[in-house]
């Protein structure tokens, strides 16, 4: 097995823990998080590996991983960790650091969905599902592909299905104190 030198950067975890605490240093590598993770089949690094890399300060590997974006925040890992490591919350922390520091996400569509979602509520205060998906497609440049693959037909069929079942709103629900929502989301990236 190939061995490479690694220079730990302990300040990375210190900064993370100051925003937590996430208790990452408590991990004793039992892998209970990884074994219970329902989305691990699509991850490039297993949740326990993310924790290990965090302890060793391997910022680059973590922030560029698919794993942080595939994590569905189901909280199974945090719930079951025998040492109280808040793994799912740490995944969120890494997502936010990646977005705020401009690291290109390994899964731009997943990151873009979160951004489109916050953009959707920024002006009205409530989610308007009718505009969320089109805004996300535009933001992540999917329209052309959707036309090519015929996927747009599936999506439209679904939207019409919801409409027919009176489950698709046609106008956004606006709140009165929209300025407060704008203020809360001012620093969002």
């Amino acid at each position: 097995m190939e061995q490479t030198a690694l220079t730990p950067d302990f300040s990375f975890l210190e900064r993370a823990e100051a925003s937590g605490p996430f208790n990452a240093a408590e991990c004793f590598q039992c892998r209970k998080c990884t074994n219970g993770c329902p989305a691990s089949f699509e991850m490039d690094l297993m949740p326990d590996q993310i924790i290990r890399l965090a302890v060793l300060g391997q910022r680059h590997e973590i922030l560029q991983s698919k794993t942080i974006w595939i994590c569905a925040s189901c909280e199974t890992c945090s719930t079951r960790c025998p040492n109280g490591v808040r793994i799912a919350e740490l995944m969120d922390y890494f997502k936010e650091v990646a977005v705020r520091s401009g690291v290109a996400p390994a899964l731009p569509r997943v990151a873009g969905f979160h951004q489109a979602f916050l953009g959707n509520i920024r002006h009205t205060g409530r989610v308007f599902e009718g505009a969320l998906l089109p805004a996300w497609w535009l933001k992540t440049g999917q329209i052309g592909e959707k036309l090519r693959t015929g996927e747009l037909r599936n999506d439209l069929k679904q939207a019409l299905g919801l409409l027919g079942k009176k489950r698709m709103p046609l106008a956004p629900g606006k709140i009165k104190e929209r300025s407060k929502i704008k203020a809360i989301l001012r620093s969002s990236r």
Binding site: P38, A39, A72, V127, I175, A183
Partner: protein
Amino acid sequence: MRVTYYPGCSLEGTARDYADSIHGVCEAMGVELQEVPDWNCCGATAAHSIDHQASVDLPGRNLELAGEVGNSDMLVPCPLCFNRLKSAVHEIEKGSEGFRTRLGLFTPKIWDLANFFATDKMLEKIASSVKNPLDGLEVVSYYGCMASRPPSVTGEPNYENPQSIDRIVKTLGATGMDWAYKTECCGASLMVSRPDVGFKMVAKILDMAKRVGAQAIVVSCQMCQLNLDMYQERIEAETGKVFGLPIVYFTELIGIAAGLPGASDTLSRHFVDPVPTLRKYLGCAATRHPGEPGPDPGRPE
């Protein structure tokens, strides 16, 4: 009794059927819902993923408003909203700094809707309202993630094996079957942003429900409902398996068992039609779909 009510965005949109069902059942059970005035989106997965401050302050504003309403209890049907509201309380109460939220002296007790209906008092009300017991109906209860996990936030004691929906369906006369996927994740927004991943996660759940022999899956989460219901046909096409599993809200079952007027109206708004499974509990007046011809008066039965 009067309670504060935080519906959340999707109950005004893709889960309006759930909202209608909740209103019907609450009215029949003497639970008056007083909506939080001018409530806003809780920020959902998006906020807690990429903006921690907003993930506390968006629900925080709702908590401030809910405190002013003054009822001691607040019902929250959407488990993610429930979780984000509880998380915000948790974060503020531990004295974290840097948030705008200022909780007043009073914050109502925040209830996951299914847990509220599974209290002894509500179960008694439900039991006394049952007119059409759901005898012979075998279902699995599916709770998803957010009403249970993490227990340090939700306060749920049975986080690996929740019981609320099971207790409700049992009170209605149905059988809640044992199965291992009660709290398995449905993929949530991955269903949209990475359908390939979401489809696999939901297929596993549908497959297990089918294998234990359930006639339907009973849910309390509108996101789980949408993911298991709307995409079921496409997942069947991709996996080559046939599930045909109706995904019904526990409030719909309460309405049907209690014989509430209009209780079956929401059933036609599902993608997998629950009527064939539930027909015998609906009574004759309630089984008609919109568009389906009514009983023919000229022809004797």
